[in-house]
Symmetry: C2
Subunit: 154 residues, 2 copies
DNA sequence: TATTGTTATACTCTATAACTATA
DNA sequence: TATAGTTATAGAGTATAACAATA
């Protein structure tokens, strides 16, 4: 499996329209399949797609302001009230006052939230999903390429 | 067009959990960024995300039954009525009777629909989006990898 | 004045179930 | 009976605007 880790002297890059077109199609296709897979796994844990995403953004032991979660989810802050309410109803997360700024409420996963988050993510990777299309070698090459792209730009 | 039709089967390989984890994170991240980009481009054409997707699935000069569109969009057929209504309201698509089965209605893009579809997709690729993270060489390697994966399995 | 979280509201997306007209 | 499209309905997702408490 050649990776073609090119020694491209990236000066004036010719952006091939056809290549971009094909690449966009392929990535959007894979993205759509992963979305289907993720939503299916989420449903097994009685999680809606948005809840699953929020759960993934909340890292165990790291409280964050609700504002920060809105940023990570790329959505308006007004959406979080109901979303976080449901997480609290399930005992997966807790709102806590921020001692340094009384306007802020921070969010933190409970033990149950940590279990839920871990269980969901493990299921996502264990169940045969779109990623099982790739051999380990392909997966490695893919990871390296994506890492190169996202660390360069972003 | 080298296809790299690999002779190794994904199923027989040892699946490294950490690699899958990292790969999933990267792909979901890229997918999320592309979704943001696509929705932004769609908005410029007064298209909702769902309308943009539907438009993309309708190929110029190729009428398809509404049922088929539902399949391609991975959604229930009941959603299509309103969606297609809006496409017709905009003059982008037309419902036509299927002569061989009077239950079926086929969908086809109008000239305006073809223009809209082309304009949207061109904008998606022209405007600097997540794909501009990659150099042409990286893009080519990425395409080959994705092609290998999606043609092998799926 | 500006910001955080909340509420109220509206529109879109999506699924389920029941209906119709065909097959 | 089964299928294609429709309708009605409900819940989820998301944005905008206005509000209270705090900075």
């Amino acid at each position: 499996m050649t990776l073609t880790s090119t020694d491209d002297h990236a000066t004036a890059e010719p952006p091939d329209p056809d290549l971009l077109d094909e690449l966009a199609q392929l990535i959007l296709g894979l993205a759509a399949r992963m979305q289907v897979h993720r939503n299916a796994c989420a449903a097994e844990f009685d999680l809606t797609p948005a809840l699953a995403k929020a759960l993934r953004e909340l890292e165990p032991g790291k409280p964050i302001p609700m504002r920060e979660l809105a940023l990570r989810l790329n959505c308006d802050a007004s959406n979080l009230t109901g979303l976080v309410d449901r997480l609290e109803d399930r005992g997966a997360a807790e709102r806590r006052p921020d001692l340094s700024d009384r306007r802020v409420k921070t969010l933190v996963l409970t033990e149950e939230g940590v279990r839920l988050r871990h269980g969901f993510w493990k299921r996502l990777l264990t169940e045969a999903g779109p990623l099982s299309e790739f051999t380990p070698d392909q997966a490695r090459a893919l990871r390296d390429l994506l890492l190169a792209g996202t660390t360069t730009a972003r």
